[in-house]
């Protein structure tokens, strides 16, 4: 009964792979236990190569875990989960409409109906009037709006977001963060948001999960009690900065003295 209120239940997830050139066995994820209740916004942060994106792919079913179990629990009729990919992951040969309705077409929905059902989501992400444009005609921020709409169109319970704003410039990224919160409050989804941007993780989330350097495991699971709705000036408050310091210290300890990769990207 308790399980049914969880959107994600991960137990002992382990990921190993063999390096192609050295034939060495590498452990990408040591052990991940993670419970996420319905409706929660959880960010996963960690140094580069800590396996956070790998974990998301395992949840999405794109990669098979070496060990452990993943349960995703849907409430409604939609699929359990959908992925918002990193930048430039729209199909360049489809228009915004073609891309956003893609998930529905995958489910066997006829094109005409898929287009009708995609329209409200295109409106929600603020792309009305751009349905007929091709991705190359859109800015990076608009492309990621379409990317988000594509995942929302299939009405998933769990939204998996893999560094969706990493390639955007700083200002666009902040605008998109605010936009994402607005869309999230309307769409009422559970979100796992992978990022290496500490302020982004804190600003968006109810919880920030901090992962260690490879092999990845959970170092800390921090509740962010900053209330909602949130506006950008929140980032300048003392409470926010305190969270930033707390997360940064955890990650800083993970970085080797020579500094192979920085958490701030």
């Amino acid at each position: 009964m308790a399980e049914s209120t969880l959107a994600l239940r991960a137990r002992g997830v382990r990921m190993e792979y063999r390096d192609r050139s050295t034939r060495e066995r590498l452990v990408a994820i040591e052990r991940m236990d993670l419970d996420i209740p319905h409706g929660e916004f959880v960010a996963i942060v960690g140094p580069s190569g800590c396996g956070k994106s790998t974990f998301l792919k395992i949840v999405d079913g794109l990669l098979p875990a070496t060990d452990g179990e993943i349960e995703t629990g849907g409430l409604g009729k939609g699929p359990d989960h959908a992925m918002v990919f990193q930048d430039s992951s729209l199909f360049p040969w489809y228009t915004v409409m073609g891309n956003v309705s893609y998930g529905l077409v995958c489910q066997g929905v006829r094109a005409k109906e898929a287009h009708e059902r995609a329209m409200p989501l295109i409106r929600l992400v603020g792309l009305e009037g751009f349905e007929g444009k091709y991705p190359y005609q859109l800015s990076g921020g608009m492309q990621q709006r379409a990317n988000l709409a594509r995942a929302l169109t299939v009405d998933p319970e769990l939204l998996l977001m893999d560094e969706p704003f990493a390639a955007l410039d700083a200002q666009t990224r902040e605008i998109m963060q605010v936009e994402l919160l607005r869309i999230w409050s309307q769409a009422q989804k559970t979100v796992i948001f992978v990022t290496h941007q500490i302020d982004e993780a804190i600003f968006l989330s109810d919880r920030v999960v901090v992962m260690s350097a490879r092999p990845g495991r959970i170092l800390a699971d921090i509740s962010i009690d900053l209330g909602r709705p949130r506006a950008l000036d929140l980032k300048r408050t003392a409470a926010f900065t305190a969270y930033e310091d707390q997360v940064w210290k955890l990650i800083e300890n993970q970085l080797t003295p020579v500094g192979q990769g920085s958490a701030q990207g």
Binding site: L62, S89, F91, W93, Y94, V105
Partner: protein, 282 residues
């Protein structure tokens, strides 16, 4: 121009590299559609030079001919109509063989790209035939199909289909890993993945294949007609070559060039139609 630039400098606008005084002068000579205008000028310049070189006796007209001599030959042969069967026969051979190559090559190439083991199975034959010059194959095909158009269809088809197979197979493996992941993530069926990712990703490769195949097919037509034919542009060139009629040889070559350019333009149209989603390169 110079004084103007200097005055500007004195007024406190340092001349940047872009506003070099000479740049303004260069800009005054800009003409609309530069590539076309300069292309035509370059073409005509060579024709004039050619004519002059032959007329002043620097080169033998009997070997090199000259633009006016070619023109005279063209007027004669188009006037009498003897050149039309040569053109239409070569054109027919090329079209039939090339269309067959498209109809077979693209679907089979896509299918082979989907079934890896089958691809490995036929690969040595495809690459072997691709590496074989058609000159070597032509006598055999003429033995089998005779001196008529059928042998030429076969050669053109073979040249075209092998090229198209290679490029189409390459294209069917060209899909971006990220795009495949998206299809997988949203649970696309195998056939939808093929239609929505594999096929669009292969288009640039197929178009390149068409371009190369068109050229190789034309070589096939001419080679086959050189070896054994009694009509066709290759036959026309070869016959007039043996009778030392260099003007008609040149005319034949010129017609082939015109044909090559026309086919290139046609393929470019097809390309534009299929790649609306690409930003214009220029």
């Amino acid at each position: 121009m110079m004084s103007q630039a200097l005055r500007r400098t004195r007024q406190g606008h340092p001349p940047s590299k872009r506003r070099h005084p000479n740049a303004d002068q260069g800009a005054r000579f800009t003409v609309p559609n530069e590539p076309l205008v300069y292309g035509v000028i370059g073409f005509i310049l060579v024709l004039v030079l050619w004519e002059v070189v032959v007329d002043v006796g620097l080169a033998k007209a009997s070997l090199l001919s000259s633009p006016t001599r070619i023109w005279t030959a063209a007027v004669a042969d188009f006037g009498s109509g003897v050149i039309w069967p040569q053109i239409s026969t070569s054109l027919l051979e090329w079209i039939v063989g090339f269309v067959l190559a498209i109809v077979v090559g693209i679907p089979v190439g896509l299918a082979l790209g989907q079934v890896q083991r089958l691809e490995f199975l036929v690969e040595p034959w495809i690459y072997g035939l691709y590496a074989t010059p058609s000159v070597a194959l032509a006598p055999l095909l003429i033995l089998i199909f005779g001196v008529g158009v059928e042998a030429k269809f076969a050669i053109v088809f073979l040249e075209g289909v092998i090229t198209l197979l290679i490029s189409t197979i390459a294209g069917s493996h060209a899909a971006d890993r990220r795009h495949m992941e998206i299809a997988q993530s949203f649970g696309a069926s195998r056939s939808l993945t093929f239609r929505s990712v594999t096929l669009p990703s292969s288009v640039p490769f197929i178009i390149t294949g068409l371009r190369i195949a068109a050229g190789r097919a034309l070589v096939g037509v001419i080679v086959a007609e050189f070896i054994a034919a009694n009509v066709g542009l290759g036959f026309y060139i070869s016959l007039n070559g043996t009778t030392l009629n260099s003007s008609r040889v040149m005319l034949g070559i010129l017609l082939l060039g015109v044909f090559g350019i026309a086919v290139g333009q046609l393929i470019q149209r097809v390309e534009r139609r299929f790649e609306r989603w690409r930003p214009a390169i220029h």
